[in-house]
Amino acid sequence: MALDALSDVSDDALLVLFANGDADAARLLNLRLTPRAYAQAMRMLRNRAEAEDVAQDAMMRLWKIAPEWRQGEAKVTTWLYRVVANLCTDRLRRQRSVAIDTIPEPEDGRASAADGIQDAARMNALYAALDELPERQRQAVVLRHIEGLGNPEIAEILEISTEAVESLTARGKRALAAILAGQREELGYSDD
């Protein structure tokens, strides 16, 4: 089946096609999901090599589970978010502090050198602050405020209630704001 013909097919239907040996379904799932898995891992780990390992590992788990996937029971993206979050958490447990020099340099052409340094400094500050949060708070805050997911989906990923998600994100946000208090000018934000 051509990729174009599959473009409107849902992720879980593609997974069933994949399990039936459709190589185009594999290609399309790779194009749809690997960038998401990688971006999520990158935001959580701040390390390109580790994020690639996690994304590849998470996708491998998806390929392996494909023959048992029951269509309509769960969203593939939710399942993948959960797997990536757990894999990242395992790595963060092993290596809690993330070295600043592992944060990638801004790519050429996207911004001036000064802007790039400023962006890197802001991200360093944000992720350093996130590192100080308890694990579940950190996960909830990243999923809510950086990945942009809704509370019900986060609840499914973290396997907790929606109320618990609200509580975690609210506490996490307050803690982050307290950690970053007074750094506004330092991070190059003006009040205009």
Binding site: F18, Y38, W63, L126, A178
Partner: protein
């Protein structure tokens, strides 16, 4: 913690959301290679879209593959031909056996080949 701190945090979240973290071509290729390898490992034909019937393959493996199928086909045709046009010794033997029973009949399907009706 002030409104200003929360506002700073929102600006940082916004910057994080807009960070472009595209996966490398190498990662995309590795993941695709994993997928196709896993499809082969799971025993389905890749790119056909439909799994091949496994029973046929198991049967062929049991009897020794396609050469064994050719042998079987030849034996079947020879057997059928012997049935239709039996050599004299086969016909005599058959008649001897079948005519020994009181209610046995030999029915000649092709009279042109001199097959006699035997009556007990």
């Amino acid at each position: 913690m002030t409104e200003r701190d929360l506002d700073t945090l929102e600006l940082l979240f916004d910057a994080a959301r807009h960070q472009a973290d595209d996966p490398s071509a190498d990662l995309m290729q590795r993941v695709l290679d994993d997928a196709l390898t896993e499809q082969r490992r799971q025993g389905v034909s890749v790119s056909g879209g439909v799994a091949r019937p496994r029973l046929l393959r198991q049967f062929l493996a049991t009897i020794g593959g396609w050469p064994a199928v050719a042998g079987l086909a030849t034996a079947s045709v020879v057997g059928l031909w012997i049935g239709v046009n039996p050599p004299a010794t086969v016909a005599d033997t058959a008649e001897a056996y079948l005519s020994s029973g009181a209610d046995s009949y030999l029915v000649d399907m092709m009279p042109g080949f001199q097959f006699d009706l035997a009556e007990g």
